[in-house]
């Protein structure tokens, strides 16, 4: 599969940055959800489409920064803290998977003609297993929102497909960590809220030096 092409003229034609007729669809969708107590998803539309004005490579570079952050957190910080039991097992497994995301995103950005961002330096405030897991929960849930927020702005369907297969893993990590913490594995109930770039940085930006 070396033939890389943009196979989505339909998607490119969508006005994802403006409020189009289509906005009503999602609003109606969420209104239906609200009947079941899903009112919390109201800001969905603006969040989903205000993510970024850049191209696919820029979106992927933002994702790459987050993946570097997660990978470093699990593999470096996790080791420093001397985790045990399930926390240790998850840190090893999830760290390896985040590293695979880093590799894949780096390759994808190059494929798109972009320049992958360099790995930033991170500072994690975790001091023990419980604060490590609490921060892991924030990072994974933020990752889910970041991908879900940015994905509709992607122009290439192949890039979208890749982002989808990664975000599903972030969601699985988030649920596993939250269960370990005794929290709900579905903090957003039936619909995961997308986050825009500013919201993601508000949650994770302080960790990047």
């Amino acid at each position: 599969m070396s033939n890389y092409q943009i196979a989505s003229p339909e998607l490119a034609a969508c006005e994802v940055h403006g409020m189009t007729r289509a906005s009503f669809i999602l609003r109606g969708t969420l209104a239906a959800g609200a009947v079941y107590g899903m009112g919390s998803v109201t800001p969905f539309v603006s969040q989903a489409f205000a993510a970024t004005g850049g191209g696919d490579a820029e979106i992927l570079n933002f994702a790459l920064t987050l993946e570097y952050l997660e990978a470093d957190f699990y593999t470096v910080k996790g080791k420093q803290l001397g985790l045990s039991g399930q926390a240790k097992a998850y840190a090893a497994q999830f760290g390896a998977e985040e590293n695979e995301h880093v590799t894949a995103l780096t390759a994808a950005i190059k494929h798109l003609g972009g320049t992958p961002v360099k790995k930033p330096r991170f500072v994690f405030p975790a001091t023990g297993e419980s604060s490590f897991l609490a921060l892991a929960s924030v990072l994974e849930n933020t990752g889910v929102g970041a991908y879900n927020g940015a994905a509709p702005s992607l122009q290439s369907k192949q890039v979208l497909a890749s982002a989808g297969s990664i975000v599903q893993i972030e969601a699985r990590h988030a649920a596993a960590i939250d269960l370990l913490l005794g929290k709900s594995p579905t903090p957003n109930q039936g619909f995961d809220r997308p986050l825009n770039k500013a919201q993601v940085l508000a949650k994770a930006g302080a960790l990047i030096k």
């Binding site: 192949q158 989808g164 599903q168 957003n188």
Partner: protein
């Protein structure tokens, strides 16, 4: 973007997806019409980028529907077909959880998670019905399901299978969805199915990421064949 034409095509029988599940000939015709490909190339990009030779990368993308078929607004093509397909799956999941809750096999923390998941699937049903109607389509009728419910461990295993299939089904359609808002809604549901699947994975002592770092999509024929045993 022009407003969608009123659904003036030949009236779609209610429950078309259900019929497609039951009828192989219908299903093949439908998939040909809807250009149910795209899913096949799903993940190929990442896999190609990784230099991996996983089997999902070997299926080339089949031709997408011609403009003559995709321009008609009917339940059988495009986003409406995908939404009704998802709706059928959500109906089945909702009924499954309702039966599991009624069985009384689970109590305590697990019982409460099962109830949460059932409620969330019900909100997906409502959301998808709303989306179908907003697009000018007719929501499929609720199919009658049948689920083997014998023991807690058997049900947990089945739930794990069902949720993994659901997550893979959404993933398999993401690149086929044309309307960006429908896509945003599908993504918001997709990751919740993934959370359910991971949770059930911990219950049945299976990996929360059975496919490793990259989730595998499932295309429509695969999913429809897999849910066939659950239709009464």
């Amino acid at each position: 973007m022009p407003s969608p034409p009123i659904d003036e095509a030949a009236p779609q029988p209610v429950g078309i997806v259900e019929r497609l599940v039951r009828d192989d000939v219908d299903r093949k015709r439908f998939l040909k019409m809807a250009g149910g490909a795209g899913a096949a190339s799903f993940g190929a990009f990442v896999l190609a980028a990784c230099g991996s030779s996983k089997k999902t990368a070997s299926t080339a993308a089949a031709p997408v529907a011609t403009s003559s078929t995709s321009s008609t607004s009917s339940n059988a093509t495009g986003d409406l077909a995908i939404l009704n397909y998802a709706l059928t799956l959500e109906y089945l999941e909702t009924e499954f959880y309702a039966k599991v809750v009624a069985s009384g096999l689970f109590s305590g923390k697990v019982g409460s998670l099962i109830k949460d998941f059932g409620r969330q699937e019900a909100t997906h049903v409502e959301a998808l019905k709303g989306a179908v109607m907003k697009l000018g389509g007719t929501p499929v009728a609720k199919p009658a399901g049948k689920f083997p419910i014998s023991s807690a461990s058997q049900v947990a295993k089945l739930a794990y299978t069902v949720e993994n299939l659901g997550a893979a089904a959404y993933l398999g359609q993401a690149a086929n969805i044309q309307n960006a808002e429908v896509l945003a809604a599908a993504l918001a549901i997709h990751t919740v199915e993934a959370r359910h699947a991971a949770t059930l994975g911990t219950l049945v002592k299976k990996s929360v990421t059975p496919e490793g770092a990259f989730a595998a999509p499932a295309d429509m024929p695969t999913v429809l064949a897999a849910v066939k045993p659950f239709l009464a």
